[in-house]
Amino acid sequence: MTVAPTAANLPPVAADPGPAGNPGRSRFADRFRGGTTSTWFPYLLVLPLALILWGYVVQPMLATFFESVGTDGAENYASFLSGDGVARTSLITSLIISAASVLLCGIVGVAMAFLLKRFSFPGRRLIEAIILVPAALPPLIGAISFQLLYSETGILPRGLQQLFGTAEPVLPFSGIAGVLVVHTFTMYPFFYLAASAALAGMDPSVEEAAYNLGAGRVRVWRTVLLPMLTPALVSASLLVFMTSLASYTAPLLFGVDQTMTMQIYINRTNGDLPMASTYASVLGVVSVLFLLGMRWYEGRRSYRSQSKGVAAHRREITNPFGRWFALIGSVLATVVLLAPVATIALVAFSADGSWTTEVIPSRYTTENFRTIFTEPRAFTPILNSLQMSLIATVGCVAVGVLIAYAVRRLTFVGRGLLDVAVMLAWALPGTVVAINLISAFSTGNAFSFGQVLIGTFWIMPLAYFVRFLPLVFRSSSATLAQIDPSLEEAARNLGASWWRAFGTVTLRLMLPGVLAGALLAFVHGVGEFVASVLIYTSSTAPISVEINNRMYSFEVGTAAAYGMLQVVLIFVVMVVSGRLETGRRSSREAAAWTN
């Protein structure tokens, strides 16, 4: 259902920048037909793309900076340096949470990668199939499910309390510990994917060479495997650190107020936009530094070897004790991985207000689903989300595909800048994107055609566009990398114009990747919460904001029903993009880096 409109929108995309070339077409039509061969052609294609990125990504960021220094000069920034201010504490708390998240995700992710890629045991395939499930949930639903499971009023602590007959819930997570639980479960895939890719790319004979030279197992790990995994682990660490820094829903739900993202939200809702902008600028700068650090690090060598593809050998666990241990571990892991989704599903069928002190809700009903679909006021958020996300996705495809093409295939001055600008949109936390748009479009400017966008419908799809453009860009670019440029050259050689060659050959071959990216952008749009919560109005509230509001008014069942809707949509999309064979890898990669 979601596939058709996105696919139908693809052909116009190819022709979209056409108008840029249209004025005076008759005059230099001949030269224009020279297409990619004329030196100014790339600029004609790139100029509108560059303007879009400038107008909606870079310029708003600068607007935020000016906002932050506009009234009090650098005074806002001074508060980060003073001894005991909220600003300084927030920055330090954010950094500590991020560092701890890196450590926890690293341990869990690398251990999982080694277990699943190097050993064969009962249940391995099942775990491999569901290992990314917790991370695939929309951020708000993910955080809510962990709250329902592990917080003081959560299912597990209460269940254990009942089991052991203690007075207090057992092992409840709250505050920073709760945030870390959410981060660990939703971000360990960064390490898992990086480490398993590195393990898969590693030539097994390198390891064998070490054994052959007399090294024991421990020594091989220490001197060969870990050093060779280092590049993958470093980039995963950077990713997790960035994502943790940008994390907003987990601190919100576990009540950790003094983090950077929470302070942005609190200052914005208190009406102190300059202070919110200050936080946003600091967070934005840190994120950009991490982005640049990552790009610098990626440019260095990684250890992939040119093996003839000896099958990666998994060690069969043979001793009976180990097998039992593995079996119990697998069952436990399966339960833990599926628990968040199961919890949301369970709660979605619970009657609102029926769940107070019981381990799990006591009364069940389908009323919640009936409400959200039939009650007009309750259905509006669903409509809003679908509509806004669809608009944003169309924009993302149009712009993302062309930027991918420009960056991969054309040579022009400033190609690196274009690439960085897209990735900038990815590196900026959702809260920062929202503040940037508020700063830029609370008055009209050229990029909003003189209109004030804040408080209107259009600011929402615009925010989604900025946030999810990199998804489409990345998956298009990954597919494009696998298409031999000589295919397009062959089409040109056979007489096709550049547009025709691009449309009938390159774009056609890119389609699975583009579609996978578009689907991903669409579901992320439907699940978007972090930016929405700062810029929505009562008439444009999306699903996630509605979920949050319902949670506050203790309508947990209805909130979970909305959540289920998002979850189902995500799994449908995952299955569909799994079918788009070439899109599979790229969408999986892309899925791993938004949260």
Binding site: D203, S205, V206, E208, A209, A210, Y211, N212, L213, G214, A215, G216, R219, T223, V224, P227, M228, T230, R301, Y303, S305, Q306, S307, K308
Partner: protein
């Protein structure tokens, strides 16, 4: 003195089911010998080598180093030095660190280790490359680092798994001379795996030809070339004509057959040939051993040229001999010979050999 022994070694993999990757292989390799496992891909030669290295354990059978049974010993306790097909150099270490790796594990003193590393690199002509990164080296240089790394530990056995297959033709020839020189100098027992029969012939003391997991023949390059055990060996090593001819007489080590187009000849045969009058024998003869003459020459068999190919060193002809296609390689051919011409073939009896199917 026997150094490495494989006694009825078989290997079955769980995923391939019943078919054995290596099937009942018996090999005894002498001390200091350069022994080659030769065969097409999938014949089980690499699996055999990996069992000697300890990366696989045999499903049945024994492997001995000298008198010691090492069948189930882990690879890091075997003291073999292996050169991998893709070299398997540690990408995060320098050349010198790669070569020193095995010495470090053997707790060789720092200064001695340094001396031996320098020596080993000198031996493979990489004296000035100690501090280079692996990805700064060419394929041939990487290959030599791998060789130095395997040799520096003075292993009891050197194992080489198609070490030349990633090099270009010219480098391959140079390197095989180098490997053989170094192996002789060190006097080290070596097992070499290759699918390239020219390489095997040029380098080996003895060769085991393998096919479908079984050893087809073990022998010196000369034996294998001139006295192939069966049609597979005859055709895999160099090029060979295998003619199916009626048997008209047989002794313990000869068989008399009728030639195509008439005449009889007595051909040497293995003592266990088991052929009797009235049966058919498979007789192999190399293309370069067939003589060319005029069609009218006395005692020559008349044949018609169906294909003709000039390769520089020789001319390769395919001729039709009483309905059978026969390959001939001749240094000199009559001027103006063309497809369709009649010529005479001389098949010297002492160059022919009876093979098993």
């Amino acid at each position: 003195m026997i150094d490495v022994t494989l006694e009825s070694v078989s290997k079955r993999f769980a995923r391939t089911g019943d078919t054995a990757a290596v099937d009942d292989v018996d090999i005894a390799i002498g001390a200091g010998e350069f022994f080659t496992l030769l065969g097409p891909s999938g014949c089980g030669k690499t699996t055999t080598l990996r069992m000697v290295a300890g990366f696989y354990f045999p499903t049945s059978g024994r492997i001995r180093f000298g008198a010691e049974d090492v069948t189930r010993r882990p690879p890091n306790k075997r003291d073999t030095g292996m050169v991998f097909q893709n070299y398997a150099l540690f990408p995060h270490m320098s050349v010198a660190q790669n070569v020193a790796y095995g010495l470090k594990i053997r707790k060789v003193r720092r200064d001695e280790s340094r001396r031996r590393v320098a020596e080993a690199l000198e031996q493979v002509h990489l004296g000035g490359y100690a501090e280079r990164r692996i990805d700064e080296l060419s394929g041939g240089q990487q290959q030599r680092v791998a060789l130095a790394r395997a040799l520096v530990i003075r292993p009891r056995t050197l194992l080489l798994d198609e070490p030349l297959s990633n090099l270009d033709a010219k480098l391959r020839e140079e390197t095989r001379v180098e490997i053989r020189r170094i192996q002789r100098e060190a006097g080290i027992t070596s097992i070499y795996v290759t699918h390239d029969q020219a390489e095997a012939m040029a380098m080996s003391d003895r060769i085991a030809v393998m096919e479908s997991g079984r050893v087809q023949q073990i022998g010196t390059p000369q034996e294998i070339y001139h006295r192939p055990a069966n049609t597979f060996v005859a055709r895999f090593i160099g090029r060979s004509n295998v003619l199916t001819l009626p048997v008209v007489g047989a002794t313990a080590d000869t068989v008399t057959v009728t030639l195509p187009g008439g005449g009889q000849t007595t051909v040497p045969a293995p003592t266990d040939h088991g052929l009797t009058v009235g049966g058919t024998a498979l007789v192999s003869i190399r293309p370069e051993h067939i003589g060319l003459g005029a069609a009218t020459e006395a005692g020559a068999l008349s044949a018609r040229v169906t294909d003709l190919e000039f390769t520089g060193m020789a001319t390769h002809l395919t001729v039709d001999l009483a309905g059978e296609a026969v390959m001939v390689a001749a240094v000199d051919v009559p001027a103006g010979l063309a497809v369709g011409d009649q010529i005479g073939l001389r098949l010297p009896a002492n160059r022919m050999w009876v093979v098993r199917p």
